[in-house]
């Protein structure tokens, strides 16, 4: 089936009206040498019923998280998505709308993004938020490029306690920009502030820290921030988990200049890694605002004094010469941002606090029980929020496979990050006490 509704006779009528003999004549401007003269070797279209059956068959070849107890996190988090979100984002007025360039046709999306920006401002404690970015990793990379522009410096301190995938993306974006990346090694899954002193100098554009860091721990922000502030012009970039900001102090309170992160955890499904949405906020400072990439929605009044919303400060993207733009590779993820906005509205003050608290409480219950076992150790047991590093004495791969056979995903294997006998274990509110107890039992009998 195709989706072109015109019948043959309607097509003939239209051709006659515009004075063209055949549909093919409309394509005459295409030079003969580039016209495709064969049929593409692509399967014929099928009916909806056949398609759904094929898709269901493929879906059945996956083992999805509804069939497993998953302790996988490491940047993509399995939180509960309230039904209200899908009920609203399934409205075609939202998901078939164009990017909101034409304000008169997009007041709904624009108002929702305006609310999103206010909520991101509240969570981060920073005065300015953009309308969202592609994802957390590219938002982090854009923050680094922004810090280099603002400070007119080229050195970036990039500790190994940042998500390794994010570090890769940041370094990729930095190629061709002549940035130097200083990688700091972690000690006990934390950055030693002393190691920052050694590397801070007149070339340092930014230090990037994750909150909580990749291993789930909280860095010594107070001391690090003092060091950064002493080195004028150096910016503190923080990659934060927005859901955990329900219980964790706003990064602005300890001196963050730019805060970015992945907002998938806010009401967006886990979806095999995408589409996700990055968020980006900065201090309310003209120098920073002028370099903030992406678009911003502002509130204004029209010629009849009626209040409304528009895209503002658009000189940052394709509307000006590309080398003058703050970024050419960012758009906003409007529908994903809408999901995050509805999530934050639905959970509200008490709900976000409670969901973050449940993650914390359950993760600590699990870690305490694991510590009682002989062959396992929680390496950062005194400093973690909802993810921790589990060290195992027995063969890690055999353990991982054995648990998988019991429908348990032990977590993210840290073999390429720290050590082959370590796993990053994440607990969200979705995991029940029975599942936690079962996991502990399986660890014990292995």
């Amino acid at each position: 089936m195709d989706y072109i509704s015109n019948t043959d006779s309607e097509k003939q009528q239209m051709l006659k009206k515009i004075g063209v003999k055949a549909v093919e004549d409309l394509f005459k401007m295409i030079p003969a040498e580039i016209v495709l003269e064969k049929d593409l070797a692509i399967k014929e279209g099928i009916s909806e019923l056949e398609l759904i059956r094929q898709a269901q068959k493929l879906a059945a070849q996956n083992v999805d998280l509804t069939k497993l107890t998953s302790f996988l996190g490491a940047g993509a988090y399995n939180h509960y998505v309230p039904g209200v979100i899908t009920a609203l984002t399934d409205r075609a007025e939202f998901y078939t709308a164009y990017t909101p360039y034409q304000a008169e046709l997009s007041q709904g999306t624009l108002e929702a993004i305006y609310e999103y920006q206010s909520m991101i401002s509240e969570l981060t404690g920073l005065g300015i938020s953009n309308a969202s970015m592609l994802d957390g990793a590219s938002a982090a990379a854009e923050a680094v490029l922004m810090a280099a522009r603002v400070s007119r410096r080229s050195q970036i301190i990039l500790p190994s306690t940042i998500n390794p995938a994010y570090r890769e993306v940041i370094k990729t974006y930095g190629r061709g920009k002549e940035l130097d990346f200083i990688e700091l090694k972690a000690e006990n899954h934390l950055i030693n502030p002393e190691s920052i002193i050694e590397n801070l100098n007149q070339k340092t554009a930014a230090i990037v820290l994750q909150y909580p860091n990749f291993f789930g721990s909280i860095e010594d922000f107070k001391q690090i921030s003092n060091l950064v502030k002493k080195n004028k012009k150096t910016l503190l970039v923080v990659i934060a988990n927005p859901l955990l900001l329900g219980i964790l102090k706003a990064p602005a309170d300890f001196g963050a200049d730019i805060v970015v992160g992945e907002a998938q955890s806010l009401g967006n499904g886990i979806n095999y890694g995408g589409p996700y949405l990055g968020f980006m906020a900065c201090r309310d400072d003209r120098k920073l605002l002028r370099q903030l990439p992406g678009r911003i929605v502002g509130k204004t009044t029209d010629s009849n004094d009626k209040a409304g919303f528009v895209l503002t400060l658009q000189t940052r993207e394709q509307h000006i010469r590309r080398e003058k733009a703050t970024s050419n590779i960012c758009t906003n993820e409007a529908l994903n941002a809408l999901m995050a906005t509805i999530y934050l509205a639905t959970m509200g003050k008490a709900g976000l606090q409670e969901v973050a608290s449940q993650c914390y409480q359950k993760a600590h219950y699990l870690a305490d029980k694991i510590e009682e076992l002989t062959d396992y150790q929680v390496l950062n047991k005194d400093n973690f929020i909802h993810e921790f590093v589990l060290k195992v004495k027995k063969d890690p791969l055999t353990l991982k496979n054995r648990l998988r056979n019991k429908n348990i995903l032990i977590g993210y294997h840290l073999q390429k990050v720290t050590s082959a006998d370590e796993f990053l274990v994440c607990v969200t509110e979705k995991i029940t006490k029975a599942e936690l107890d079962n996991f502990i039992e399986e660890l014990e009998v292995f």
């Binding site: 609203l88 164009y98 709904g108 305006y114 609310e115 758009t331 709900g351 914390y360």
Partner: protein, 171 residues
């Protein structure tokens, strides 16, 4: 502005969420987190029906492809078949974690592989990446590939990117 902001529906103590009981012994977060504990959080306090009515009202202030003709080109405003939404929201295809093992994700990997093969046929190219998150992201990826291609051949002088309408210096 025809619809007030969600925060303007807020009323202290009003709730729109529900979570299962905690089940485990509760630790005092204030004591645990110390200097990093957050006490203030200014988010809306609204009911589920407030949320539904507010965002339904906002949806009415939008115009999309399903509302009528939309002759704008840069983001290719074409009709999106509804079956796509049905398929994409199947739990077997959506409730999966990117770090699950390949063995557990054969369905999605087959789907991506077939899409890749079709795109190769359409583009006439030899290989493809489905990694970029947007069109501009894809263009950026291509430029990086081109840059690395010349770097591999020890040809480091090429700095210009030409197009039919203009030539800009690459930075």
């Amino acid at each position: 502005m025809e619809e007030k902001l969600i925060k303007d529906y807020s009323c202290p103590g009003r709730k729109g969420y529900s979570l299962p009981p905690l089940e485990v012994t509760k630790i005092d977060l204030k004591q645990e987190l110390g200097a990093y504990y957050r006490s203030e959080l200014n988010l809306p306090e609204v009911s589920e029906v407030d949320v539904i009515r507010h965002y339904t009202a906002l949806s009415g202030m939008n115009y999309g492809i399903d509302s009528g003709i939309y002759p704008l080109g840069s983001c290719t405003m074409k009709y999106n078949p509804k079956r796509n939404e049905t398929v994409a929201s199947l739990p077997g295809l959506s409730e999966i974690h990117p770090y699950q093992s390949e063995t557990d994700l054969q369905g999605s990997l087959a789907l991506l592989y077939n899409l890749k093969e079709d795109l190769i046929e359409i583009s006439g190219m030899d290989e493809i990446t489905l990694q970029p998150a947007s069109g501009a992201h894809g263009e950026f990826t291509s430029l990086m590939i081109i840059k690395d291609y010349f770097a591999d051949q020890n040809d480091k002088k090429r700095k210009k990117v030409g197009s039919l309408t203009n030539v800009v210096k690459s930075k």
